[in-house]
């Protein structure tokens, strides 16, 4: 039994694995199709006119083909077991376009993994997410790249009226060049929580988030934690724009420099175009505290182990809302990040 089949038996709702442009696995738990749930290649999904009309409405149009996954949860369906989507690039260029639609009042948990298995590869991932009225999406995205990979990742999210979007983006191993951009539009009464945990190795990374609070009462919280190791450059612009009254937004960006030859640039920006919004931000960059290291060493941890614990703590304390079904995976990833940070 394959790893993926074991995973679906262990409780995943559905699985989709694509290597380069080949769909390696596509599995759906019994009964889901009958309830109207769809997981299929985007190339097939666009046979429906309403899907075609959705394309490139949450992101600026790009010249990208129809390789990628389409996920649809019909109204009133709650799926708390995770849907797993995984992309692997092992040679050349992989460009994918994914579309997720969560119907009115529905709930979905997604675990999305992207990784490279070869050197000199390029991954372009374009994902559009639509949450209809009252829908809820918990999404954990885990990236792990080989060093000589280039990555462009663009995500557009439309959070509908009273809908809720909770996104945790974790990068375990950074590529030598990455441009990651997330654009979230929050409509009336909707809410979004976007958390980033980024372990930066040698190379240049830009992690940009732009949130538009478009509807009255919309809210967002953006938390970003960056750990910079030797030879890394990370730029982290985060903008919240309030375009409707009674909106709330908060940005928190924190950087931890483990090496003197690393650079972190945090750029929190707030723009209020309407009165009655409340926007705040906090930003801080620092290094590991010598006092904390010394304390942990008196408890029996070597300097490397103590540093690793403090990195883990720094990252973990940035996580506000990990979906319950994915907590074990996230805990394991945090352990790995802490280990890699001091490797």
């Amino acid at each position: 039994m394959s790893f993926l089949e074991k995973a679906i038996n262990a409780g995943s709702t559905a699985l989709y694995l694509q290597r380069n442009y080949e769909i390696v696995r596509q599995l759906l738990a019994k009964g889901l199709a009958e309830r109207g749930f769809i997981l299929e290649p985007l190339s097939k999904a666009v046979e429906r006119e309403w899907v075609r009309k959705l394309l490139w409405t949450a992101l600026p149009q790009r010249e990208v083909g129809l390789s990628g996954a389409f996920v649809y949860v019909p109204p009133g369906v709650s799926l708390r077991a995770p849907v797993s989507i995984c992309f692997v690039v092992s040679e050349g260029v992989q460009e994918v376009h994914n579309v997720l639609v969560v119907g009115e009042g529905s709930e979905l948990v997604v675990l999305s993994t992207c990784t490279s298995a070869g050197e000199g590869t390029m991954h372009g991932g374009y994902t559009e997410i639509f949450l209809e009225k009252g829908a809820k999406l918990d999404c954990v995205i885990i990236h792990s790249w080989t060093t000589k990979t280039q990555v462009i990742a663009e995500t557009g999210v439309v959070v509908g009226e009273k809908a809720s979007f909770n996104d945790v983006y974790i990068s375990l191993k950074s590529p030598h060049a990455l441009k990651e951009s997330t654009r979230i539009t929050v409509r009336k009464g909707g809410s979004a929580l976007a958390s980033t945990l980024y372990l930066a190795g040698p190379g240049s990374s830009t992690l940009e988030t732009v949130v538009m609070l478009e509807g009255e009462g919309a809210s967002v919280e953006v938390n970003s934690k960056i750990v910079a190791t030797s030879g890394s450059f990370v730029s982290n612009p985060i903008t919240i724009e309030a375009a409707a009254p009674n909106t709330r937004g908060h940005v928190e960006c924190r950087g931890l420099q483990l090496s003197s030859d690393s650079v972190i640039v945090t750029i929190p920006a707030l723009r209020s175009a309407r009165g009655g919004s409340r926007l705040t931000h906090e930003a801080a960059i620092g290094k590991i505290s010598e006092e904390e290291l010394a304390y942990l060493m008196t408890k029996g941890f070597s300097e490397e182990e103590a540093t690793s614990m403090l990195v883990r703590g720094f990252l973990e304390l940035g996580l506000k809302s990990v979906p319950e079904p994915l907590k074990p995976q996230v805990t394991s990833i945090l352990d790995l990040m802490a280990r890699f940070a001091t490797a």
Binding site: E290, A294, Y295, T298, K299, E305, G313
Partner: protein
């Protein structure tokens, strides 16, 4: 002998804080170190633990016959020496994670934390925003979790309520009954009445151990005449 300190002198930031101090203790013994503020009690413990910035300029420290000079703090901890810090600074680590890692390191059970009523603190950053009593209990619990052969406790009885004081006393008794040596620094001596027995007390004044002996006699002498009189040799 569990711990032997021979003519130990310690400098902190270029200033000699401990001067030619001698102290020996065996397994299961409780030794109390008394002294006024700034007399060198904490520095004495930290130097034995090998903390950076506490430079041994003279003398030697032996633990179970092995010389400690030159060993890093984590190496000393792994030999069985634990330091309960007086005021642990807030850590960027959840208390639950720290406790788990310590219990893994020493092969101990987290059940020992049960006595300390720490449940409401476990998912918080260790020591961040803890009250004085909460910090003392958490730090003592972590020290016990190390299953130390030598527990150096730096003022576990300061700034805590009566109930916590009894708890600290019970914990120290259990440590000693389990065979650990306990070197207890106390400013007020408040916890002493809850200890079943104290092997010996030492008084340190301006970095020198000026008297060693029975704890009740020394405490009485300090109460009557003060530390300076002891340092001048006017008592005993």
């Amino acid at each position: 002998m569990l711990l032997e300190v021979e003519k130990l002198s310690v400098e902190v930031e270029g200033r000699t804080v401990v001067r030619r101090a001698d102290l020996s203790m065996g397994k299961g013994e409780i030794h109390v170190l008394l002294g006024p503020n700034g007399s060198g009690k904490t520095t004495f413990l930290r130097a034995i633990m090998g903390l950076p910035g506490y430079n041994i300029v003279e003398g030697r420290v032996f633990f179970e016959g092995r010389e400690l000079n030159g060993l890093k703090p984590h190496e000393r901890a792994r030999l069985g020496i634990a330091l309960m810090h007086q005021n642990p600074r807030p850590l960027t680590v959840k208390l639950s994670h720290l406790a788990r890692e310590i219990s893994k390191r020493y092969g101990t059970s987290l059940d020992v934390l049960g006595d300390f009523a720490l449940d409401s603190l476990m998912e918080r950053e260790a020591f961040k925003g803890f009250s004085g009593g909460e910090a003392k209990k958490a730090e003592l619990a972590l020290t016990i979790l190390q299953r130390p052969k030598l527990a150096m406790l730096d003022e576990p009885d300061s700034g805590i309520d009566l109930e916590s004081l009894k708890l600290v006393g019970r914990a120290i008794n259990r440590l000693a009954e389990g065979g650990a040596g306990v070197l207890l620094v106390t400013h007020t001596g408040a916890v002493i009445e809850y200890l079943r027995r104290v092997t010996m007390a030492h008084v340190i004044v301006r970095g020198r151990i000026v008297a060693s002996g029975d704890v009740e006699t020394l405490l009485e002498a300090v109460k009557r005449k003060g530390y300076e009189a002891l340092a001048r040799g006017e008592i005993l």
